[in-house]
């Protein structure tokens, strides 16, 4: 029996301990904001926070999250929108939107560690997150804007 916290709620899981966190979140916990993109930690669509750090949930087995705290896009802000989500709205970042929960989770993790990231910092934090629609320029602007808001 695996015990973990998801968005602040205690959960238990008695399925295959090798199941990636991603599929637990999507198919078992029914939190579908976290997306499947590649299954190999190559695209970042499945990014969530594990004890506050950004991880690719497709490549973290359930056995590795015992006793840990997981935050998904659904749980990132208890009151209204997170400043990063607000910036995403103001800059109108998304096109199809599928990768954006992962982008937002990655961006929040970056800003948690670095409140004033340079373009270079943003590039290196975000290069693992693919966007086939190509919204990178707006993502970069939105991160700068959120940084200002958080300052």
């Amino acid at each position: 029996m695996i015990q973990l916290k998801v968005n602040g709620v205690e959960k238990t899981f008695d399925g295959d301990p090798d199941m990636p966190l991603l599929w637990y979140l999507r198919d078992v916990a029914e939190l579908t904001g976290t997306k499947f993109g590649c299954g190999m930690a190559l695209c970042g669509a499945c990014t969530v926070h594990l004890d506050g750090k950004a991880v690719r949930s497709c490549s973290v087995a359930m056995r590795e999250v015992t006793g840990k705290s997981v935050t998904t896009i659904e749980g990132i802000s208890s009151k209204g929108l997170h400043p990063v989500q607000k910036a995403w709205m103001e800059i109108k970042v998304p096109q199809c939107g599928y990768c954006q929960p992962g982008q937002i989770m990655q961006a929040i993790a970056l800003l948690n560690e670095n409140r004033t990231p340079s373009d270079k910092d943003i590039d290196s934090a975000m290069e693992g997150n693919l966007c086939r629609c190509g919204t990178y320029q707006r993502i970069r602007s939105a991160i700068h804007q959120a940084a200002k808001e958080l300052a």
Binding site: M19, M40, L42, Q95, C96, G97, L130, G134, Y136
Partner: protein, 741 residues
């Protein structure tokens, strides 16, 4: 303009579906479809207004990131003078009553612009009539504000919700009495409105196909035949059935040619969750039959294509006599170009949920073409298309791949076999290996150069397995692709011939964002740059000279393209204009000219939109290319949402970077070599253009395409920049195969 007709006599207006509701069943379907239905009342609903003042507009086109689900209803809302904050958008089911629902070809706005305006204006007229009656005042004394009718002399107001029931009882006005808004009166068209789904997207609440579920559903993952057309001879599922969560396996029939949109066949693993299904698949042992397509090797095939491109092909456009001009001797320039297969690689892989019950199918799918879902599923299961209910979710990207419903058909077939709802999830490996690929192409160009350095004759030949092969395995010549930048060269050259050579397909070929424009624009714009260099002229000045004086290029249209050709003639003045704008914005005349840094330009009209792009690159001592700046100028006619256009064109620069720099699909013995994002690479934040500036040329022309036209000029502009920076002329995609040091 689609005329409004007074059709109330045959029930144009339908009584409200709920008490107090106004429902306008507008004549907003294409003429041919309507004609077939003459005399039959078919309540095509695009609009309703409820007594609580909510305006509901049906989006009949799919949302895959291009903004159609917002922009098309926005046009209706503008003419209705609706309050956008009170508008609810409801996604249409797949149903031919909506007309064309295939969200491709960059034609959602241009295909529905007039009809949406007419629908909105008709409803607005009826609401004003209802208010005037209620107040016993002349109609002329009333006007509208968002969701309100106002009586000018007294300032009295009634909301659309308050008027809905009364308006619903009125006859539909004759067309003479309906006035469309003037451009100056537009509230939303041409302004920036955020995508309707934006709040749901940033909070993770948006429902994509991947997120759809049905009660009691099981999950399926399918091991497809590695080579197109292979069948399952035998298979061993013992180990697969040992995987925790796996319930059973099901062998699937391989299509009978033509493959069209049919499933590929293979073995499905049915499980309690996606992960178990994926794991079960890895434990399958399958023996496949042979397939004639296993002879396919893309490296060898390239030589075949190139050999064909050196021989005369089928003539698709002829002006003057190129052969006579070539025979005169003088300066001749020739060049050959090559572009590989590409995979769409939408971030959301193909996925669908379907439930078969009592001869009917209900499905939730991220489909660009819900009517194709109906037709394909019905055909496979021997039921009627109208017995297939297709709910369209948001699409996590589409780019043409999701016009094909093969994965929806898989879910429906499995549901029928299992007697319960089934969700089919494609892995990334499935997505890349079993795509409907963008075609590989070889192109041959030849020009005779006059004393002024300008071409006196221009011959171009293109060869690739055509999309028609999807529907007819024997098809070797292109059809629709010819108008995608090949039989409509906009240059002012006295002798011109355009040809197409035959090629056979061994993998599934499909539409990928801007389709054949990708290789056609690559060859034409690269060759133009080569000729400029040969003539010792500035590439931009040379391009303007090629385009020549303002004129309408005389083109022959196929019957089905004739009307569009009339409405959207190829106007060289508009092409010149975007070139001039991008020249100014990029400061082309004063661009730095130094080793390792270069500017390139390309211009291309596709989907009726004129685009010119300048790409700036830097090449370091290792031959690594970075893209500091992209400038692109767009004339897309009347614009509904400028910010959405900017976003689409910024995105096209990133999509273009992928195919220009790093993406390539290769095939060995019929098997696709690439599997995931490590070997099928896409542009990321660190190698996508640093900054893309988009300039929209104001225009009153009818609206044109937006989703695709940004792509075709990108790769040639980048390659022309490579030449400027390095002196190396690279003639094949992607650039990662070239040595720039």
């Amino acid at each position: 303009m689609n005329a409004i007709q007074n059709v109330s006599r045959r029930g144009f207006l339908r009584a409200g579906v709920a008490a107090g509701a106004f429902v306008l069943a507008a004549r907003v379907i294409p003429e041919p479809l309507w004609a077939e239905e003459t005399g039959v009342f078919n309540p095509d609903l695009f609009l309703s207004i409820s007594s609580d003042n909510t305006v509901t507009i049906i989006a009949a086109r799919s949302e895959m990131g291009c903004g159609s689900r917002t922009s098309v209803p926005l046009v209706l809302a503008d003419e209705l003078d609706a309050d956008w904050s009170k508008v609810k958008i409801q996604q249409a089911l797949g149903d031919k009553k909506y007309g064309d629902q295939d969200t491709d070809g960059s034609h959602s706005v241009r295909g529905f612009f007039d009809q949406m305006r007419v629908t909105g204006a008709t409803a607005r007229t009826m609401l004003v009539m209802a208010a005037a009656q209620q107040w016993s005042v002349p109609i002329a004394e009333c006007f509208t504000e968002p969701n309100l009718v106002v009586h000018k002399p007294t300032g009295k107001k009634l909301t659309y919700g308050e008027l809905a029931a009364a308006a619903a009882k009125l006859p539909v006005p004759a067309k003479e009495t309906v006035t469309l808004k003037k451009r100056s009166e537009w509230r939303y068209i041409g302004k920036d409105t955020a995508m309707y789904d934006l709040p749901d997207i940033v909070t993770g609440k948006a429902v994509f196909g991947m997120d759809a579920k049905m009660p009691g559903m099981v999950y399926a993952s399918i091991e497809h035949p590695p080579v197109l057309g292979q069948k399952v001879n035998t298979y061993d599922d013992k180990a697969a059935l040992q995987v925790k969560g796996v319930r059973q396996t099901v062998a699937l029939d391989t299509f009978k040619p033509p493959h069209a949109f049919q499933p590929l066949g293979g073995v499905a693993v049915i499980a309690d969750n996606t992960w178990a299904a994926f794991q079960g698949r890895r434990a399958l042992k399958i023996e496949w039959s042979t397939s004639p397509n296993s002879v396919y090797n893309s490296a060898e095939f390239r030589k075949t294509l190139e050999a064909t491109a050196r021989q005369p092909g089928k003539v698709v456009r002829n002006v003057g006599d190129v052969d006579a001009e070539f025979a005169k001797g003088g300066k001749i320039v020739e060049a050959e170009y090559y572009t590989p297969h590409l995979a769409h690689a939408s971030m959301e892989t193909p996925v669908a949920v379907a439930s078969y019950r009592d001869g009917k199918v209900e499905t939730w799918a991220p489909s660009q073409s819900p009517q194709a879902v109906q037709g394909t599923v019905a055909g496979l299961l021997g039921i009627k298309p109208e017995d297939v209910t297709c709910h369209v979710t948001l699409l996590g990207g589409g780019f043409g791949r999701k016009s094909k419903p093969d994965q929806v058909a898989e879910a429906a077939v499995l549901s029928k076999k299992l007697g319960k709802p089934v969700k089919v999830v494609w892995s990334r490996e499935d997505d890349i290996r079993f795509d409907y690929f963008h075609s590989v192409a070889a192109l041959y160009m030849k020009a005779a150069i006059g004393n002024d350095g300008m071409p006196t004759a221009w011959l171009q030949r293109t060869v690739y397995p055509p999309i028609a092969s999807t529907f007819d395995p024997l098809a070797t010549y292109a059809t629709d692709e010819m108008s995608l930048g090949w039989n409509n060269l906009p240059y002012n050259i006295p002798n011109h011939r355009s040809e197409n050579g035959a090629a056979k397909a061994y993998v599934r070929i499909g539409w990928l964002r801007s389709v054949a424009n990708i290789y056609h624009s690559f060859a034409i714009n690269s060759f133009a740059d080569e000729l400029a260099v040969a003539a010792g002229k500035d590439p931009l000045e040379y391009l303007l000279q090629l385009i020549g004086p303002p004129r309408i290029v005389p083109l022959e249209y196929r019957k089905e393209e004739a009307e569009e050709g009339k409405k959207y003639p190829l106007e060289t003045a508009r092409l010149r204009k975007v070139v001039e704008v991008v020249a100014e914005k990029s400061n082309w005349a004063k661009r730095p000219r130094q080793k390792g840094r270069g500017f390139g330009i390309a211009a291309h009209r596709s989907f009726l939109t004129y685009v010119a792009t300048v790409v700036e690159i830097e090449v370091d001592s290792q031959g690594q290319v970075t893209i500091p700046n992209v400038w692109t100028a767009v004339d897309a006619g009347t614009v509904v949402s400028p910010d959405n256009i900017r976003n689409q064109f910024e995105g096209a620069a990133a999509f273009g970077t992928s195919l220009a720099l790093i993406s390539e699909i290769t095939v060995t013995n019929g098997v696709v070599n690439q599997t995931n994002f490590h070997d099928y690479q896409l542009a990321r934040m660190n190698n996508a253009p640093r900054h893309t500036s988009v300039y929209i040329v104001e225009s009153d022309a009818p609206p044109a395409g937006v989703g695709e036209p940004g792509l075709p000029p990108f790769a040639p502009a980048l390659y022309n920049a490579v030449f400027a920076a390095t002196g190396k002329r690279i003639r094949e995609l992607p650039l990662s195969k070239a040595n720039l040091v």
